[in-house]
Symmetry: D2
C-alpha cells in the first residue's frame, strides 16, 4: 500500500502518521520526492482501512499495490478451483447448465420442467422457493412447500437442485439442497455470507445489481475465508442507463475474474436483459468468453408464470439452446455436464 | 394498468389473454385502435406481475396507471406523516439532526462525541455497533459491546440512539435502541423488512446504492404495510460514473418523494460523497430542498477512526454546521430539534 | 402513439387536447376507461414531440407504439443491409476486421503496422489522424500529415482506410478515405450527422459513452434518412460504475440492434475495456453474439504509443487473434474478409 | 506523477522506462520498496499520456499527483473569476438568472416571454435558435430566423441573450449574441472548444450527460488555455439508472468545482429532471449549495411548446420562483442581477 502525501507536509505531521501506521503492525518506507512524499507500507495491508488513512489531512491519496482479497486471489492459488457438486465437475474445462423456472409453482410444473431440461442436457435444476420480490404484494414463492416440491423433482429426475436462500434462519431447511444461491440483492448481506462460510454446501453467489467486481470478489472472500471453498460466481447483468434491456451483461467480467481469481464463473443470460430472444445469443457469447456454465430460466408456460415470465424461455427453446451449447462447448474443448470420475 | 397489444393480434389470442386477466380478479376494458389494441385493467393491480403479462407474445408493453405502492402513497394518505420518537417530532415542519461516529470504538469516544453533538444541537446520537464492511478483514464493529456503549452514551446525555441492524436475529438485543437503521446494502433484504413491519420501533431506511425511488418506496411499503408506520427515508447518494465523489447525492429525491409519499425524508451528506468539506454545502442544499433532517458522521479524531474516518467531520466542524442548520431551518420556518408537546 | 390521461379530466380539457393533436395532422381515437382515459394517435407520429404532449397537465404519460426511427428500422426494411466498401462485403453473413494504431505517428509506423495487420488477415486499416483528446495538452494527432501517411499506407498495402472525422470542414480532405468514422463523442453532433447524410462515403458510427440504443439508432437515422445508406454501427462500451475496466461492453447490443435494425453492427473490443488482455476474449464473444466485424487497436510498440497505448495489442497478439477469428467465423458460417464479387 | 511498477521488475526494464520518461522532458526519482518500486516524475506532466506509460508491462499503475488542468485550476489562480457580461457581474458573490424558452418559436412568443422574465427579475434571456434534437424529424429550431428574433427581443427588453452554438461555422452569425452556449452533447466537441478559445465572447459550457467533473474541467481548459477566460460552467444533471427523473442533478458538483476551480458555476434545474414541479426546489438547493446563477426554461404556454415543453415553467411560476431567488440570494449575501459598476 502506498500513501501519497500532500506537497511539503511538516516533518512533525509525517512523523505522527508514520507512528500511526507502525502501530497497525506495518513497516514503512519513506520516500521524499520533489512533487510528493510517499510512504510505502509493508506487511499485511488487507486489514488496513484506506479511508482512515485518507482522513489524515496531510494525505493526498492511498493506493493498494496488492489486492484486498487473498483467499479468492489467483496469485495465492494459481490453479483453477475445480470441485465436484453432486458428482458434477464445476470449474475450468467443464461446463454445467443450471435450468428451471423462476419460481416453483406446483408439483406438476416443477416436475415437468425438470424432466424437460434434463432431457435437453441440463445438469442442475434451479427453481425459486423463497422469492425476493420488490413488492410486498407480489407472489413471494411457495416457500417451505416449494422447497419440498424441488426435492421431489430432484428425486424424480436425479438432477441436483439450486435454490435461493433469503434468510440465514432457513439454513436447516436447506439441508438437502445441493447448491445454495445468494441472490443479487443479498450479495452484500455480510451476516449471511459469513454464516455460509461455515457451511458445507457449495454457494452460487450472484453479482449485485450495482456492485463492482472488486466488491463481488470481496463478498466471495467472506465465504471462502470462512472455510467454504466451493463458491461459484455468477455474472447476471448490472444496472446502467440503458432502458431497452433490464440490465447490461458485463461480458468482460468473465475473462477478467478468471484472470484475477481461481473461482468458477457462470453467466445468467435470462436476468441479464429480461428479454427471452436474447438468452441464446448471450449464452453463446458467454461460452466464447470463457464461462464455466450457464443459469437459464425455463418455464413450461412463460405467459402464465407467476413471476419473471417475461424473461423465461420455453422447454423447446431451451432444447434448441442446448444444441448450441453442445456444439460450442465442444468447439471450446470443454466437457459439458461432465460427471466427476 | 394498461396492456398494449401488438398490431393485429388474432381474436382468439386476445380472448385468451382477457380470460387470463379476468382470472386475476380484474375487469377488462378492450379498445381496438388502428395502430394498437389496448386492454385497460380495472381493480387492484398492485398484485399483478407486469412481467408475467409481458411474457405473452401478443403483448407489446404493460404500463401502470396507478403506482404499485399504497401504504406509503400520498394519494391515499394526503397528510404528511409526523410522528414522535423519544419525544422528538419527526416529519414535515420539523427538523432533526442525527449525529455521531461511523462506529462506536470505546466508552470514552462515544460519550465524548455524544456530549459534543448534543451541546451543538443534535437531537439523536448515531453510532455503528454492527458494521457492514466490504472486506471480511476490516473492523466489523464492537457488536454487542458497542450497543452497550451506545446505551451508556444515551444514559449520559439523554440523546435517543439510532443504530444499524444487520441481522434480524439481533432484534431482541435492540430493544432499548430508539431508531433501527436499515443500511443501504439491506434495503432489499425483504425478509428483514417484513419482520420490521411487525416491530414497534421507528425505522430509518437508507436508499440502496443503485435503487430507483420506486424500489425505495416499495421497500418502505414492506414495512408500513406490515403495520409499522414510523418509517423515515434517508437519501444517501447513489452510484454513478463520477469518481471524484464516492456517490452522487440525488437531491431531487427529496422533493420528489415528498410529493408522492407522506413519509419523512432525511439526507446523509457524509456518505453522499465521502468528502468532509462537502458535508456542509450538501446539508445546506438538503435543507433548502425540503429535507426533514440530516444524518451526519462526527468523529472526535477522524484521522484515527476505525472506519470511514475520511468522511467524518470533527465536533468543531459539526458545531459550525449546526450554526448554519439553525439559521437555515429558521429561514425555512421549520422547528429544529423540536420536542413533542 | 398512446396518450394516457389523468383520471377524470374535464371534458373541455380533453376536447382541447384532441384539437391540439388533430392540428398535428393526426387522427385520434378516444377510449374512456374507469381508471384512465386513453387517446390513440394514428398517423405519422415520428415528428411528434412527446414532451410537448406531456406538458399538458391532464396528461399522465405518452407512449410510443411505433419506433421513432424509420429508415434504419427493420420493420420497413426486413432484409439485412449488406453493401460493398472498396470491394469488401459488409453486413450479415460476412465478417470484416479493421485494425491499426490509435493514431498515425510516422510513415514507418503506419506502414509497418499496415503490412503486419494485412498479413494477419485484416481487411481495413484504421489509424487516427485527427484525435479527440480530453486534454488540450495531449497529442492531437498528425492531422493533415497523418491523413497523408494513411493514404500512403493504403497505397503500399491495398488496405482501404478508416479514420475519424472531427470537423465537418475537413470533409474535402477526406475524399480518398474509404470509411469515415464518427467518434463516440460526436455521436450526437447532429450538424455533422446531417452533413454526412449527404455524402457518398460509408460511415462507421460509434455509440456514445452514455447513449441508449434508441439514441444510437436515431443518430444513424440522421445519416440514412439523408440518403446515405452505408452506415456501420459500432458498439464500443458504455460508461458504468465499474472501475476495473474503462467501459463496459454492452454485448447484448449486437443481437438487439440486429433484431430491430437492418444495419451491420461491429464491435471495438479495445476501447470497450482499455485492457489488452481482454481484447481476444471480447472479440470471441462478439463473434458468437453475431457481430459483423471487429475494430481492433494494434500498435507495433504499445508502450511507446503516443496515445491509448495501454489498450493496444501487438502485431503478434493480433496475429494470434486472427487465428481465432478465422476459426470462429468459419464455425459461425460467416465469410471472413470476403471481397464482393 | 507517480509510476508504480510491478514487484521485482528487471533492472534493465526499469532503466529502459526511466530513459523513456526522461525523453519526455521529465526528471525521475526512483524509490525501491519491498512491495513496489515507484518512479516519481518531476516537471510538466500535463502533457504526459498516462495510458502510454501504463502500456509498459512492468507498470502496475500511474497516478497523477497534480491535476491535469492548469488554466482553470484554483491552485494557480486562487481568486474567483468574476467578470462582466453586458454589464452584469458573473461569479462568486453575484447571482444571475438566465431564463427563456427552450426554443424561439415566433416574434410574439419570444418578446412576450422576454418581457415577462425581465419583469420578474431575470438578467439574461435564453432561447434556442439552433436546437440539438435526438430525432432528425423533430423541430430543429428556427435557425437564422430564430437568432434574428432573439436579437429583436434583446432590443425590445435590453436583456442580453444566451443561445446555443451547434456548428462552429455559424460563429459569424452569433456576433451580436452575448453568451455562447455549448450544449451537453458538444461538451467534448474539441474542435469547437478550441475555436471558442480564440473568440472574445463569454462561453456557457454545459456538462455532458455522462462526463466526469475532471472531463468537464478539461473541456473548460480547452477554452481558457486558448485565451478566452470568460467561461461559465453549468451543471445540468447526469445520466443514471433512476427513471422517475430524466437526469440526476449532481448538486455536489457546485461546491466541488468551486473548490478546485475559480470559474463561476451555475445550475440548470429544468434539464436536471425534466419535471417542472422540481424546478423550484432544485433552484433553492442550488443557491444554498453556492451556485452563482440559474438557467431556467420558461414558456408562455408549455403545453404548446415545440420542444421540451414538459420541463418548462410558466411566467407566473417563474415569477414565484424569482421571489424565492430574491429572498434566498439575499440570505446568502449574494448580489442578485447585479450590474457592473
Amino acid at each position: 500500500m502506498i500513501v501519497i502525501l500532500n506537497s511539503h507536509p511538516s516533518q512533525e505531521r509525517v512523523h505522527e502518521l508514520v507512528n500511526q501506521l507502525t502501530n497497525l503492525g506495518l513497516s514503512t518506507h519513506l520516500s521524499e520526492g520533489q512533487e510528493a512524499t510517499i510512504i510505502g507500507l509493508i506487511g499485511d495491508t488487507s486489514r488496513v482501512d484506506m479511508d482512515a488513512i485518507r482522513a489524515n489531512d496531510i494525505v493526498k491519496d492511498v493506493m493498494r499495490v496488492t489486492e484486498p482479497y487473498k483467499a479468492v486471489n489467483r496469485k495465492f492459488h494459481p490453479d483453477d478451483s475445480i470441485f465436484p457438486i453432486a458428482g458434477r465437475q464445476v470449474g475450468e474445462g467443464f461446463f454445467q447448465v443450471i435450468a428451471g423456472p423462476c419460481s416453483v409453482e406446483s408439483e406438476e410444473q416443477i416436475i415437468s420442467v425438470a424432466q424437460d431440461v434434463k432431457k435437453s442436457g441440463a445438469s442442475f435444476l434451479r427453481g425459486g422457493a423463497f422469492k425476493p420480490r420488490t413488492s410486498p404484494y407480489a407472489f413471494q414463492g411457495l416457500k417451505a412447500e416449494g422447497l419440498e416440491l424441488l426435492l421431489e423433482a430432484k428425486r424424480a429426475t436425479g438432477l441436483p437442485i439450486v435454490t435461493e436462500l433469503m434468510n440465514i434462519n432457513h439454513l436447516e431447511a436447506f439441508r438437502d439442497v445441493d447448491v445454495i444461491q445468494v441472490g443479487a440483492r443479498n450479495m452484500q448481506n455480510f451476516e449471511m455470507l459469513r454464516e455460509l462460510g461455515h457451511c458445507d454446501k457449495p454457494i452460487l453467489l450472484k453479482r449485485g445489481l450495482a456492485n463492482t467486481l472488486e466488491e463481488f470478489l470481496m463478498s466471495a472472500e467472506y465465504i471462502v475465508s470462512g472455510g467454504n471453498e466451493r463458491v461459484i460466481l455468477c455474472e447476471r447483468g448490472i444496472r446502467t442507463f440503458e432502458t431497452m434491456t433490464r440490465n447490461t451483461l458485463d461480458i468482460a467480467a468473465i475473462p477478467l475474474i478468471k484472470r484475477i481469481s481461481h473461482l468458477p464463473v457462470i453467466v445468467d443470460p435470462s436476468h441479464a436483459t429480461g428479454l427471452p430472444f436474447l438468452v441464446e445469443p448471450l449464452a453463446k457469447a458467454a461460452i466464447a468468453a470463457g464461462a464455466d456454465g450457464l443459469m437459464v430460466e425455463v418455464h413450461n408456460n412463460p405467459k402464465a408464470a407467476l413471476c419473471d415470465g417475461a424473461q423465461s424461455i420455453t422447454p423447446a427453446q431451451f432444447d434448441h439452446l442446448m444444441g448450441e451449447v453442445t456444439r460450442r462447448t465442444s468447439f471450446e474443448g470443454k466437457r459439458l455436464g461432465c460427471e466427476a470420475e
